[in-house]
């Protein structure tokens, strides 16, 4: 059940929203879709779902194109939250899940289970407009997953939630993956992507600037982070060969270095520089990669 995008392009008049994007989204994994505002994430999702026609290219899922006949296999959480404000949660979810091919009784059982899991079983007879934004988000999430889709598209699922609810939703996402759902999700919160995704793609102005598995991306990035805690000033390291970036922190400094060998030369340079309490080599964070890849093309 891989989702394949081949040279997909979308133009709105003269603007190109998505530019020859090719992706292979593996089955039963969580795939992260990163990008700044207006990078083309939502447009790509809409093309995958068939809401927008692509200008060029091909999208196939499991070798077939996605059409409305498959809508019961697909779940979608749009970026702009949308539910009927005047309808009760029960009516709302039953209607939406019927449209995804569920029976009313199945939908109700599933809804009760989900509400219980999210610790809000009393909301079933409340109107959506009476709920807080975060709780609306839970209902919206339920509407996307209630029919046990094989492919789940989550556009910014965690925005506007408090940390406890983020954890709750994250757990649900991981559970769904373990039950065999392929999940594509977009975010600009790097830590969520790092935590959840096996593979990812960073979009910038409709082009993929980075793609592949998280480990692979980090390894091939080459640069490492080095954290040093020391009593003396470490300012002199700014001019050390191989140091890309220098940042003072309370107890020392944080460096970005070209490769791990540089850490050894720094280690030697520190020999007579007083008491070193911490010397740690770290993988680069996705944040660093994102800022460099996307930031570079801003210039």
């Amino acid at each position: 059940m891989t989702l394949l995008l081949k040279e997909v392009t979308k133009r709105f008049g003269k603007d190109t929203a998505v530019d020859h994007l090719s992706l292979e989204i593996p089955e039963k994994e969580i795939f992260g879709f990163l990008g700044g505002n207006g990078a083309g994430k939502t447009t790509t999702f809409r093309m995958i779902l068939g809401l927008l026609d692509r200008t060029e290219g091909d999208i196939s899922w499991n070798g077939e194109s996605i059409s409305y006949h498959k809508s019961h296999l697909i779940g979608y959480l749009p970026e702009e939250r949308g539910l009927y404000p005047k309808l009760k949660v029960r009516e709302q979810i039953v209607y939406l899940s019927k449209l995804r091919g569920m029976k009313k009784s199945e939908a109700l059982t599933a809804l009760e289970a989900w509400l219980k899991r999210f610790k809000v079983p009393e909301y079933i007879d409340k109107k959506v407009e009476e709920l807080s934004k975060g709780n609306q988000q839970k209902i919206q999430f339920i509407s996307a997953v209630i029919h046990r889709p094989q492919l789940l598209i989550l556009d910014e699922p965690f925005s506007g939630l408090d940390p406890i609810n983020v954890e709750m939703l994250k757990e649900a996402v991981i559970d769904l993956k373990e039950q065999g759902t392929s999940i594509v999700f977009s975010s600009h919160r790097m830590e969520h992507v790092e935590e959840l995704c096996e593979s990812l793609c960073i979009l910038h102005k409709g082009k993929d600037v980075v793609k592949g598995s998280l480990k692979e991306i980090k390894r091939s990035y080459g640069k490492k982070n080095l954290i040093i805690h020391a009593d003396e000033s470490l300012e002199f390291l700014k001019n050390h060969p191989g140091v890309v970036r220098y940042k003072n922190i309370a107890e020392g400094c944080e460096l970005q270095i070209e490769n791990e060998d540089i850490s050894q030369t720094i280690f030697h340079a520190l020999q007579d520089k007083g008491f070193i309490r911490r010397f740690e080599l770290e993988e680069p964070s996705l944040n660093d990669i994102f800022i460099e890849k996307v930031g570079a093309s801003y210039e």
Partner: protein, 416 residues
């Protein structure tokens, strides 16, 4: 269950349960109840006691003929010879003892004259009655003076014999025409109301789903075209429910008030003798007219981002149906005019105007078929266009809400 039916039944059920629908229907029913009892209501408020008029007759020749004339026309007005001074009579009127005071006299050439005094002279019913009857008295006095006998006078006054007969065998008789006018009028009015009411309901419904952003979820699970037509038919069924309720209650009321009212009502609108063909045409033109305008409404509704903008955007549609209605009102009296004939082929007008012509005139079948053909073609065209606009429009959010967005929506639904 098919998605079309799911959306249709959801549209229908969620609307039927709303307070506004229930209250609206209830008010309409009350209105009908009121109209059907209008005679009793009027009677309840109007003063039926006889009106007393004080009369002073200086000539002593006028009171008798005037009184007898009036008593044959209206027995609620009673004349009473007043024996007192003029000022006393006026006072009596102000004290509400009399409705009015009339002073009759003869002019120099022996013709009747009158002065009419009342608290106010707006209550012209009585005043006109007396004036008319006095005129009669004057005519008979004048002719008598001129030496014309009563038989000759009757001859002069008798209406001329004037019979009309259409030479065209198919032409409708006067009676048929006025009957047809009734049913045409009803159909025009119902279509007008239906388009205005349910058209804006459709547009508002679409706009509500769009502004609450639930639309994106809906169109990701069912094709926009399915969604659009399920909505149109759902609202149509809702309208049908309302019409059946109203007509049903109205009919029951009329039947329960058997007698002069039933006959009067039906014969006034010419329902008794209308041919079944006309009813079938009424249904065909009504359905096609509704579909045409409903598709237009759904399309326009899909363009707005906020519910508040709906009324503004469906204004052109409202104008179209209003123009059609006004041409039709004009055409009721002049069904043969060029304007009516030409308009009966123009899609947005034809549901009303071709039906009007069919009802009032004898229109060859081929002409009706052409008109229906053009209408159906337009509906199909509008549906195809509407589906495109809908597909793009529901994803389009912007501040402006104008017809310019139509182009943008179509562009959005295209590949480029």
């Amino acid at each position: 269950m098919n998605k079309f039916w799911i959306i249709l039944s959801h549209t229908y059920m969620s609307r039927v349960k709303t307070k506004s629908f229930l209250i609206g229907t209830l008010i309409t029913l009350l209105l009908i109840l009121g109209i059907s009892n209008i005679q009793s209501i009027i009677d309840m408020f109007s003063d039926n006691s006889s009106k007393k008029i004080a009369v002073m007759d200086d000539s002593e020749k006028l009171f008798k003929p005037l009184e007898s004339n009036i008593s044959t026309v209206d027995d609620t007005v009673g004349l009473k010879l007043f024996t007192g001074s003029e000022d006393e009579a006026k006072e009596a009127v102000q004290e509400e003892e009399y409705e009015a005071f009339v002073k009759l006299s003869l002019s120099d050439n022996q013709m009747p004259e009158a002065h009419y005094y009342a608290d106010n002279i707006t209550n012209s019913d009585t005043q006109m009655l007396i004036e008319q009857q006095l005129q009669q008295v004057k005519v008979s006095m004048a002719t008598e003076q001129a030496g014309i006998d009563q038989a000759t006078l009757q001859n002069i006054n008798a209406p001329v014999t004037f019979q009309t007969k259409a030479l065209d065998k198919d032409a409708k008789t006067d009676e048929e025409l006025s009957q047809a006018r009734g049913i045409v009028y009803i159909m025009l009015f119902v279509l007008y109301i239906a388009v205005i009411m349910y058209g804006s309901m459709i547009a508002t419904d679409v706009a509500t789903e769009k502004s609450s952003r639930v639309m994106e979820l809906l169109v990701s699970s069912a094709p926009p075209v399915t969604h659009m037509f399920a909505k149109i038919i759902g609202i149509a069924l809702l309208g049908l429910t309302q019409v059946i309720l109203v007509v049903g209650v109205g009919y029951a009321l009329i039947v329960s008030k058997q007698g002069e009212l039933t006959e009067g009502f039906f014969s006034y609108f010419g329902i008794q003798n209308t041919s079944p063909a006309l009813f079938i045409y009424a249904i065909i033109f009504f359905l096609l007219g509704y579909l045409l305008y409903a598709t237009l409404a759904a399309m326009l509704g899909s363009l707005v981002s906020r519910v508040e903008d709906v009324q503004q955007l469906i204004l052109p549609m409202t104008f179209l149906i209003m123009i059609a209605f006004f041409i039709a009102m004009f055409g009721l009296n002049m069904p043969e005019s060029k304007l009516v004939i030409i308009s009966s082929y123009i899609p947005f007008f034809s549901p009303m105007l071709m039906f009007l012509r069919v009802g009032m005139m004898d229109v060859p079948v081929w002409e009706v078929s052409i008109s229906i053909g053009i209408l159906i073609a337009t509906i199909v065209l509008l549906a195809v266009l509407g589906a495109r606009v809908y597909k793009g429009g529901v994803l389009m959010y912007g501040r402006s809400s104008s017809l310019k967005d139509l182009k943008k929506a179509i562009a959005l639904s295209k590949k480029e």
